[in-house]
Amino acid sequence: MAIIEAHQIRKSYGNLEVLHDVDLSVREGEILGLIGPSGSGKSTLLRILDLIEPPNSGKLSIFGIDTVKDHGRWLDLRRRMGMLFQRPIVFNASVYDNVAMGLRYRGTSRDDIDRKVKEALEAVGLSRYVKSRATDLSGGEQQRVALSRVLVTDPEILFLDEPTANLDPTSTATIEAIVTRLNREANMTVVISTHDLAQGQRLAHRVGVMIEGMIAQTGASREIFHEPKDRRIARFVGVQNIIPGRVVSRSDGLAVVEARGKQILSATPTPGEEVDMVIRGEDISLHRREPGFEEAENLFPATVTTIEPTAPFVNVTVHCGCDLAALVTARRAETLGLHDGMQVWVSIQAKAVHLIPRVQSG
């Protein structure tokens, strides 16, 4: 069942439209990752879903309640959710009082507050700071205080807005571990925005890519990484090779795409005649000698043009009519003895050649 259902959400600030027609549904008990470049509207969307600010138009139902009609229930709904922001926010008070804030707003009894606050601080490893002034703590510690402040209120939905950007690895790991555990044990629904693709992949069951104020694609993270729906998504998920081409024939689920006179096999369904081939650098293998031919594989000779180390990988650009960027491990590059102008054999599995429709002017 969808715990959050958003349709055609729009939000502008002055003349700046930050969200256009966002459609999103979040299932109960899942961790949904929202990834996208800075300024794509992730934070704004999270604030709207958490009912911190209203959208300009669109439909939004949370826990099955229509929030557009039922404005009077916003406070109640908000008290069933929680949000952690990117910048660690603490108030000028003791750590204890900071963590107790949400419970005090809800009129929780003193004894319960005392018990819950101490438990929560224990869980994030900050018990020894109970009486310290929260503003005196480090950024990572402050963020852990902020997380406990949210968690003591037992939210059914937790929103995390880039919660670990600029945090030290220990605090990041603590926060990720707690979120994963709560999701598993308490079935807490989590929506986490991040521009860290790896974090999205690590935590989320499902990923939504946000680009320019819209949800451009949702799916399993594997799908997003290997089968981006368009050029912008492909760029964002770090695809090195986007090559325009034309489908010239199809047979047995294999399409032949012609690009600069070279024919390349693709195993993905063709979205049309004019396509862009999307090939991840790590799916391109380089060989010193011609390897044995495998089925459904592209195999051709090429010339190495540039070698750029980006530890622990090496970015190798080869020329074969068009330029291809391959990602090779540093060790493999050494074994191959790569150098500029060297002749190599390139192999790419047909499965690794993903086709997207070409947008003119795109």
Partner: protein, 231 residues
């Protein structure tokens, strides 16, 4: 004594006056503190809620109100003195209160003088609470009233700094208390007016003594201010 420098003599005598707790010096100091503290109290009572109201409510011309307040920070004290004088004098609408030339009238004048400053600084203090903090308060499930209370509590030190500045301006000003109080010995004479008068009468030792005390008060305010701002 005959050949001594009057300034050095005055300084020595001034210290004597302070150390021996000269009754006149003590009386003037206590009156000064009483009037300015009371004025600061009443001004806070009026200006802090009004400042909060301006901050929390959206209305047309809000920006104009805030910039007017900021202009009034530098309200010339003699102008306030003149206006309050006219209002409290026998020909004015509040003449029947008989507050002219009384400490009560001086309190009124100083209160009016520092209200814009306190209001403006309250708005500034509350505006200092950033957007993310307000979002956090909302996200934690605060009601409207709880939100207001939390923001005020969070801005308490900045508001206190504003109140201290207001007190500093009240106790150091001479224009309104001179016009409205009349500098009557034993009744409305305060530190600043006493210094002005005694200096013009070449009674330097008393002036210097009162000056040292006034500086001491200013220093005290400053120390309190820096303590508050460090929070």
């Amino acid at each position: 004594m005959v050949n001594g420098n009057p300034i050095i003599e005055g300084l020595v005598e001034a210290i004597e006056l302070i150390v021996t707790l000269n009754p006149q010096v003590v009386e003037i100091t206590i009156r000064s503190l009483y009037i300015s503290l009371t004025a600061t109290f009443f001004a806070s009572l009026i200006a802090l809620p009004l400042g909060a109201l301006i901050y929390f409510y959206e209305f047309r011309g809000k920006r104009a109100v805030v910039s007017t307040l900021q202009t009034l920070y530098a309200l010339p004290t003699v102008i306030v003195g003149l206006l309050v004088f006219l209002f409290l004098s026998n020909i004015g609408p509040f003449g029947f209160l008989r507050l002219l030339y009384t400490p009560g009238g001086m309190i009124v004048a100083q209160t009016i003088l520092i209200i814009p400053l306190l209001m403006g600084l309250t708005v500034a203090a509350l505006s200092g609470i950033d957007r993310d903090k307000r979002y956090t308060i909302t996200a934690l499930g605060a009601s409207r009233l709880q939100t207001v209370m939390t923001i005020i509590a969070e801005a308490r030190f900045a508001v206190m700094a504003g109140v201290l500045l207001g007190f500093g301006r009240a106790i150091a000003e001479v224009g309104t208390v001179m016009i409205v109080g009349g500098n009557i010995r034993g009744a409305t004479r305060v530190l600043t007016t006493a210094i002005a008068l005694n200096t013009s009468m070449a009674n330097y030792s008393l002036s210097i003594a009162l000056g040292i005390i006034l500086l001491g008060v200013a220093l005290g305010v400053n120390i309190a201010l820096s303590l508050v701002q460090r929070r």
